[in-house]
Symmetry: C2
Subunit: 175 residues, 2 copies
Amino acid sequence: MDIRTRLLETAEQLFDRHGFTATGMDRLTQGAGISSRTLYKHVGNKNGLIAAVLNERDRRFHRQVETDSVDALFGALEIWLAQEAARGCLFLRAWGETGGDVPEIAEAMARHKQRMRERIDAIVVAEIGRQDDELAESIQLLFEGATHAAAYRGVATVEVARRAAHRLAGLARIA
Amino acid sequence: MDIRTRLLETAEQLFDRHGFTATGMDRLTQGAGISSRTLYKHVGNKNGLIAAVLNERDRRFHRQVETDSVDALFGALEIWLAQEAARGCLFLRAWGETGGDVPEIAEAMARHKQRMRERIDAIVVAEIGRQDDELAESIQLLFEGATHAAAYRGVATVEVARRAAHRLAGLARIA
DNA sequence: GCACATGTAAAGTGACCGTTTTACACTGCG
DNA sequence: CGCAGTGTAAAACGGTCACTTTACATGTGC
């Protein structure tokens, strides 16, 4: 496997499991099986590594969530949470741990949320046949809520979010 | 002002602004204007301080959110987020930064979420005249979602959550 | 008036932080 | 053949980490 890929996958796991600040470079190099010199050649510094991990995760997450119905959207979230463990949104966690002070990380977070919003906009159009900002924002809230509530209420809470989104879409359809 | 109160208030601010791991004990003692010896006498160690901060915040948050209508609940959240700055749920952030491995912190988080759930259960009864787990869980999802989405979409998103909760309550009322 | 609790200031503990450096091995290409 | 590129291992960098210790100043109550 490619060195950079191995590094990013290892880092994503360790960051998600133990937190960003708490995960030292030694554990990262050891986990990826590379020297620290190589790590710094590839990602510059720790914040660069965090940003790279987030951007790669965004690509992977988006690929999974690229659906065009409310059902499929929350179904994808359910699968994601079931196989990745639910510890809240990694983008918001990175942003929070760094106090919002690292531009590359803040931008990765904002970009990810914006991309999610565009996907939901498309789903709304597919569901009710027209744009509806209020509905889209509500679905994003339910999606965000499920992502975080799953950490303490379990993945089953995604089903509740899916049904609530469905009901709101139904109301929007007849409005 | 009481030393312990001053310490907890300072710590809450610094933890919220910069993250838990990133906030060193020096900055805490300096911020609170106390010696490190006194700090350790009062809270034992850093995890003890974090747990104490969370438990105090739970008390304060709950006092603000102790309402009995959907409108008032989200109104309270809006006020809270407007005056405290929205960086996501501090309980989930602490839990995530410590990898869920610190019992006192994990318990503080779970207790806080459980208390929130009980409040929402009471609100549901007040709103529709009977218990409704599905509605309560949906409202908790919207509340959680608004808390986190406010970090990147601004406090205005709380209004959207409030309206969505209202609609779902309306549906539950006629069901 | 003396013990005691509670506070301060400041130095010291060893461990670990992110990052750089030094020295060396392997590979593929002109 | 030689050399640039890419990797390793391991030590060193100065700094900061959470936490403890030492030494000293208070005020309070018996």
